[in-house]
């Protein structure tokens, strides 16, 4: 498959162009905070509960809140049915997502508490871990959890020997490298960074630059989604 043709990608995007993204803050009634996110073919929903007493007790930290993110793919969100329940991949993603979010949450305000962050992938089209973190961040803000900054994530990669932003499904499968990145957008501190594939140091630098840029664009959309929800409250 020719992934880049005449400088355009399979879906017509330029190398440094994001897929369409739609963010809605607070679609769920029961959760303390929530977010619905469409990002290319991805559909993600995130919900936050807490802070609440950490249970079972032995997981409590006497000096700060524990962040318990769970990334889960619906069995019908992928080509062949995924068996329900966590597999090794989703457990790794849950772990690094928890760690990335913990960085910005003012956890020391809530000793012995836990904050549950549930991320459900309803429809998957590459980049779900970045989409999940981005949605979770909006849900945390919607829940009023105090944070230093609202984290945001985006991947870059290499396809058809070109470094590109935000891989979609075919690019992820046929591509040469994938670099998911999560940052705190104000400081540009790196909260999550993975890479697999084959990149020269120069290509990696370019990928990091593209992803950083993508993150900043999405950070704006996150803030707009939150503003929209608060405005709609004020209008009520």
């Amino acid at each position: 498959m020719e992934l880049i043709k005449d400088g355009k990608r399979l879906d017509g995007r330029k190398p440094d162009e994001l897929r369409p993204i739609k963010i809605e803050a607070g679609p769920l009634h029961r959760a303390d905070g929530s977010c619905y996110l469409e990002w290319g073919g991805n559909k993600i929903i995130a919900a936050v509960y807490g802070p609440k007493e950490a249970i079972p007790r032995h997981i409590q930290n006497p000096t700060r809140a524990v962040i318990n993110a769970k990334y889960n793919m619906a069995s019908f969100s992928v080509g062949d049915r995924k068996r329900p329940g966590p597999d090794r991949r989703s457990r790794e993603i849950s772990k690094i997502t928890s760690e990335a979010l913990e960085n910005v949450i003012l956890t020391e305000m809530f000793p012995r508490a836990m904050i549950d962050v549930n991320i459900e992938v309803l429809d998957a089209d590459a980049g779900t871990r970045c989409a999940g973190i981005t949605a979770a961040a909006v849900a945390l803000a919607d829940a009023g959890i105090p944070m230093e900054d609202i984290p945001v994530a985006c991947a870059a990669g290499k396809v058809g020997d070109t470094v590109v932003l935000d891989l979609m499904g075919e690019e992820d499968q046929e591509g040469q490298a994938d670099v998911p990145l999560a940052i705190a957008p104000r400081t540009e501190n790196i909260l999550l960074l993975q890479m697999d594939g084959h990149l020269t140091v120069e290509e990696f630098d370019r990928a990091l630059e593209l992803a950083m840029n993508g993150c900043q664009q999405i950070a704006t959309m996150q803030r707009e989604a939150l503003m929209k929800k608060y405005q709609s409250f004020e209008e009520d």
Binding site: L28, H29, R30, G41, I45, S75, F76, D123
Partner: protein, 255 residues
């Protein structure tokens, strides 16, 4: 006296006056919305809301062996995930008793109504058949999961295509589905019986009763749950109410 007994008291007092916390009549259903085809990767899908309760059902199909006692029929597997997204009371991990009962009641309604023509899902008798997986994710829990899940499963089936293309077996074609059941759930608390319970009503419910009826008003499945009891007359009355409501709900489902 704690919060939960204050809430219970409040609902009991309302019930004595024939009222419900959200102002509905005892036999009044909340608004239903159904959106089909929401998941691109699924063979079929539907998002169903009953009031603020929202569930998403997705269909996946795979090739497998038939059960030894039904060599000429495809197979059906139904699961419900009470993911912690939907309620602070749901836990992640393997399905618990509540999720199992829920999925089995939904499954029975669909199976006993002959909703899916399983004979048409046989590819090679005794060897190879289609297996239909109905997976239901609860997204927002505000009461009455039994009816929401049953509706979502039926709507997703009506939306589904047999994925022949993915298995290089020709063109996709619609899943052979007809006459899904309409499920109606009642709960009883302090002597009052209400249809389509809200979350608060689910929380104080002493007994629960679900009945699935077909388009002729015949009964296809039922399930009584919780530790309270019903009289024979209460069951009969509930069946009558369900048969009255079913055509309206069926129109929303099939429309």
């Amino acid at each position: 006296m704690n919060i939960s007994s204050i809430k219970k008291d409040y609902l009991y007092r309302l019930a004595k006056q024939g009222k419900r916390p959200d102002g509905r009549a005892t036999s009044e259903y909340r608004p239903i919305t159904i959106e089909r085809g929401v998941v691109n990767m699924a063979e079929g899908s539907a998002m169903v809301s009953i009031g603020n309760t929202t569930v998403l059902a997705g269909i996946k199909m795979d090739l497998g062996e038939p059960y030894p006692d039904t060599p000429n029929k495809g197979a059906l597997s139904t699961a419900a995930e009470l993911i912690p997204l939907a309620s602070p009371d749901f836990e992640s991990g393997p399905p618990r008793e509540n999720a199992i009962e829920l999925a089995r009641v939904v499954d029975r309604g669909i199976r006993e109504s002959g909703t899916i023509n399983l004979e048409e899902l046989c590819i090679e008798p005794g060897e190879k058949v289609w297996v239909v997986f109905i997976d239901i994710h609860i997204l927002d829990y505000d009461g009455n999961l039994f009816d929401a899940c049953s509706l979502a499963a039926s709507a997703a089936l009506l939306d589904a295509q047999i994925p022949n293309e993915r298995f290089e077996m020709g063109e996709n074609r619609p899943l052979p589905v007809q006459d899904p059941p309409i499920s109606c759930t009642f709960v009883k608390y302090n002597g009052t019986i209400v249809v389509d319970p809200s979350l608060e009503e689910d929380e104080v419910a002493e007994a629960r009763y679900t009945v699935a009826v077909d388009k002729n008003g015949d009964i296809r499945a039922m399930q009584k749950g919780l530790s309270g009891s019903f009289t024979v007359d209460e069951i009969r009355q509930s069946i009558a109410t369900a048969r009255q409501m079913a055509p309206t709900i069926r129109k929303i489902l099939e429309g």
